[in-house]
Point group: none
Chain length 135, copies 4
DNA sequence: GTGGTCTAGACCACC
DNA sequence: GTGGTCTAGACCACG
């Protein structure tokens, strides 16, 4: 489970965690019954406060995505089924569109945008070797 | 001047305006001396409270980006020079990286990401014909 | 809106607030559209931390009971309809049963229990004159 | 010895056991020298973890209420004297008051509360025939 | 070890 | 003024 926080985005940290966990389940990286990292170690990893992770997990629990047992940990709920490709595509399209609006304001041409995306994909794989996107 | 708000992003609306205006200046879409839309019509356009637009303009004035003359409107200050390509590239890279993290969690391959970006670029140009990214 | 906390009960303070607000709506004391006390004053009233009240209100919001607008306050949602007498009776029966189990362990006879209840009802009305139970 | 657990109350299970044992002693149901049920069967009865019962008994021993002899079981200590009526009355008053707060929020009149209490007393005696409250 | 609750206090965005 | 987020640190219950 790899989580990347962006402290400048304005999106609350706890929501960034919620969304990344949900995306990971949506795509089948996390499967029903599997355990999530426990609160304290994850908080240390991400260099954030324990309570912030706890809030994210609480939110996931009352969205019915995970189940949490005090003293045992948090687990993906059974009913979760990975989204179909089409749905995942729509989710990703949202994030892509946001970048495109930026590109427009910064006067990039489509070709330049594509080139930049290629670059950043490469950089991502170098930074996260074990977690690289599948080719 | 095209501004696109995202109410779900968590980033305060007034800051979204500030950043998009700055990006537009940075890229040369808005040039020194040009006027910004006045507060009321822009607020109506974007369907937000006038105070929110006013706060965005106040913030821009604070940062020395624009100048506001009571009764006349707001204007881009002279000193503003478009960012160099490298700076603009860094700004865009932030948005692109966010999308890539999503792509990772949703199990997309680099090839699929690039294809989706191509798609959305096309869709953007169709939706905003007058504002299309320059080829 | 009268809220009574019991710090010895073991039931988390924030849940005590949630339940009392829900009970108040269930019975029609609080009607749709009415505003709840705002977080800070209520916290001072109850001599608890602001965050604890905030957590109670957050819980009420994602149970769909209230709606909360930053900068404006919290309001009872429209869809809430007071429970029918029978439902309210069942809710109260739970609390009464807990007291009866206690009575059993403390070796009280039914007659003594009833007498004590009569006493405490009287005491409650004296302590909360403006809020006395309706006769 | 009848113990009734309420898993929704938020009061830790082990404390519910502690309090009910103490109440039983306070009222004379359990007398000095008598033995408590042993841990395993009680845990099975109540469908809870053995550790939880063990923790309750440890707490009781800590408070000087019982004595545990390895391999023989747990016994009520000699020094325990049943509470005087007045003390027991105060203990019960706490539970009754909680129910009254509920009744207030649910808009019950004192007469209705008393009627409901009478009802539930009757129901309790039917459900626990061997343990009925003494008349 | 696990998660849950609460406090205290800070900063922020919005009306 | 409103609510929202985050930190830091404490204590507790549970396995």
């Amino acid at each position: 489970m790899l989580i990347q926080l962006n402290f400048k985005s304005g999106l609350p940290v706890y929501l960034q965690i919620v969304e990344q966990v949900k995306a990971a389940i949506a795509s089948g990286i996390l499967r029903p019954g599997e355990s999530l990292p426990s609160i304290r170690p994850l908080a240390e990893d991400l260099r954030i406060n324990r309570n912030t992770v706890a809030k994210a997990y609480a939110e996931l629990e009352n969205q019915g995505v995970i189940e949490t047992a005090a003293g045992k940990g948090s687990f993906i709920k059974d009913s979760q089924t990975p989204y179909r490709k089409e749905v995942r595509r729509q989710l990703l399209a949202g994030a892509v569109d946001a970048a495109i609006v930026q590109a427009y304001h910064l006067q990039f041409t489509p070709a330049e945008v594509l080139e930049l995306v290629r670059d950043r994909l490469g950089a991502f794989e170098q930074k996260n070797p074990g977690h690289a996107l599948k080719n």
